[in-house]
Amino acid sequence: MPSPQLWVVSLGTVPYADALELQRSVAAQRISGEVSEDVLLLMEHPPVVTLGRSTRNANLTASPELLKARGVELFEVERGGDVTFHGPGQLVGYPIIDLKRHKEDLHWYLRTVEQALIDTLEALGIAAGRNTGYTGVWTGGKKIASIGVHARDWVTWHGFALNVTTDLSYFDLMVPCGIPDVTMTSVARELSPSSMTVSKVGDVAARAFARLLSLEPVYFDEWPTHPAPTNRARER
């Protein structure tokens, strides 16, 4: 019996709408069983603001016109959580995990995603942790990663956003995550000067997820059209 795998798919920069469609489709295939292994989609997005299910309008302080003027798209999506921003320099990860294979507990899952990011940051030399009551990953009182997930039949989608070299001024357009007075930070700001890139951080994060979920990572550069893993898996 081969050990269960985590397909790590590094997609580069993907428009938000395409990514949404991809992760919904992968999740549907994971639910139906067509995709037999857990998946971690890693990517960056062009600037976009997304509103989660608990978004209060007041937390998006910028008008749709201002967002447009800054070239920022706006999406309302089915994930948990409030408003957030994605953009260049931010590692976005969409773990599509069948929790029936791990533990049917969304709180455990949220804490696991947090732990994977805490481990990732630790490997980069940043001491990060949790802020009880406020899901996400924090360092020195500042928020460095946001989390919002959705599940159906215990299969998850949506996921996390970790600021690597993100232009943090975009967060001024909103009350990030609906938490007032929150200051956002990034890997680059914490490590300054740093030569970190989204792709390097993505590699570390993928290993952290695979280890915490006891999965064997298998790497892809694009979503495999055929659901079975192929030889295109890279050695790292």
Binding site: G52, G81, L106, I147
Partner: protein, 482 residues
């Protein structure tokens, strides 16, 4: 046969879930596997999926409502099936489903969805075996965390049965609040809460429940046990807040005058944590120094028109506050314990010092009144307050208050919020100060204002944005007539 849809546990420790979105309407055809609704916990959303085919006949809770795990929240049936027994005659009251379930205790009569519910004898142990919980067949047995929480996830009929047992034996009568078995009389509480309460000697009747419909849950008992006196004080305070809210509600609340905002999970967490820190009203303060040079010019020009046009700085501040509140209903708000109320109308309470204390007469609909009206009303109200001639309906019903101690030479102070109002503005005196204007020192008339905010309702940025608007209006007073 009808299929029950119940609130599902998104984790073994979850006691209640908040339904954020219905994905099907009453009357919609549904198939097994269709997404019926979305439930929120923390930062996660879980879809509730249909476990039977038919028509979604009845939705028993609304979007934004919370329900305990295991509670019936919808019924799927055939188009013409009589579901009254299940849906409690269509009543949406939370008690109805539990009663309906209790009426059909036999496992054989359970709908297919709850095939995992046991037919076994009534449990006699404190923590029922995990497989007795209403989960679908795929769900794994919970881990050790479930041991301490298992009872919280017990299905409602189970709770009621055991509640009744305890009542009848009288062994736990005291902790049930009343010895009566009338469901309407009973303090609503979870079985785990009752057990904890009796273990820790907490009187259930003294606790304000934080669960749906004021139901007392485990967390409430833990908090009460940790700080018994504080908890009782908070309960009393909440009672007082409601009492003072009641006349306000009579005076000003007709439908459409306000918007009730259900509390999101994060809002509940913020409210609980901050109230624990500074209770019962967790207040923070925002101060701004405003330039009133142009207000002074405007006031001078008005006064030049004649004595009958005389207005005070405070009148202009009241007018500006009313205008700003109109744009910021989230500051023009009350904290009502289980929700926040944002008002569309602006009724400003104006603190007036009287011989032996202070009173806050109200300028109703201040945002719709001109400076002349506000000036005249505030003068009359202040005089009637000092003469003790105010009628109760003249000093109740404020949505927001303003306190001005400038006439006493106070530069800056913080005012104390008058619950259930969520904020109060403290206004200092106008004085000339040397400030930098375009890089050069200049003498300008300045005034400090400090907003005290109830953090359960108003967040830092929310209060700050209100002050931004107020600054814009005070520093550009022509906007007040725009």
């Amino acid at each position: 046969m009808a299929t029950k849809v119940v609130m599902e546990a998104l984790s073994p420790t979850m006691e209640e879930g908040r339904l954020v979105k219905w994905n099907k309407n009453e009357g919609d055809a549904v198939k097994t596997g269709d997404s019926l609704a979305e439930v929120e916990t923390d930062k996660a959303i879980m879809e509730l999926v249909a476990r039977g085919d038919g028509v979604l006949r009845k939705r028993l809770i609304n979007e934004g409502d919370s329900a305990p795990v295991g509670q019936l929240i919808a019924v799927i049936g055939t188009a013409d099936e009589n579901i009254d027994a299940l849906a409690g005659g269509g009543a949406a009251a939370p008690q109805a489903p539990a009663a309906a379930q209790e009426a059909k205790p036999g496992a054989g009569e359970q709908p297919p969805q709850e095939g995992a519910v046991p037919a076994g004898p009534a449990p006699d142990s404190a923590a029922p075996p995990a497989q007795e919980r209403p989960r679908d067949a795929r769900t794994s047995v919970p881990d050790d965390a479930a041991q301490s929480q298992g009872e919280a996830s017990t299905p409602p009929q189970e709770r009621d049965r055991r509640g009744a047992e305890r009542t009848s034996t009288g062994s736990q009568g005291a902790t049930l609040g009343t010895g009566s078995s009338e469901p309407g009389d009973r303090v609503r509480s979870s079985p785990l809460a009752r057990k904890l309460a009796s273990e820790r000697g907490v009187e259930l009747t003294t606790i304000q429940g934080s669960g749906p419909g004021g139901r007392i849950v485990k967390k409430d008992i833990e908090e009460a046990a940790a700080q018994p006196s504080a908890a009782q004080a908070q309960g009393a305070q909440a009672g007082k807040e409601r009492a003072s809210a009641a006349p306000a509600a009579r005076r000003i609340s007709t439908e459409g005058d306000y918007q009730d905002i259900p509390l999101t999970q994060i809002r509940k967490t913020i409210a609980r944590r901050l109230a624990e820190s500074i209770g019962p009203v967790p207040t923070f303060y925002l101060t701004a120094e405003l330039d009133v040079e142009r207000v002074a010019e405007m006031r001078d020009s008005i006064i030049e028109l004649g004595a009958e046009y005389k207005v005070s700085f405070n009148d202009i501040v009241l007018k500006a506050v009313a205008t700003a509140l109109q744009q910021h209903p989230e500051v023009n708000a009350h904290w009502l314990g289980d929700k926040m109320r944002y008002f569309n109308r602006v009724h400003i309470g104006m603190a007036v010092a009287v011989e032996d204390g202070l009173i806050t007469p109200v300028i109703f609909d201040a945002d719709t009144k001109g400076l002349a009206d506000i000036s005249r009303e505030s003068r009359e109200l202040a005089k009637r307050a000092r003469d003790r001639k105010l009628k109760p309906d003249e000093y109740t019903g404020a949505t927001f208050s303003v306190s001005n101690l400038g006439m006493f030479g106070i530069e800056h102070f913080t005012a104390i919020i008058n619950p259930p109002e969520a904020a109060i503005l403290a206004v200092g005196g106008v004085e000339e100060r040397v400030v930098a204007v375009d890089g050069a020192p200049a003498v300008r008339k300045r005034m400090n204002v400090t907003l005290s905010c109830d953090h359960r309702v108003i967040d830092g940025a929310t209060g700050a944005k209100f002050l931004q608007t107020l600054r814009r209006l005070i520093e550009n007073p022509l906007l007040l007539v725009y």
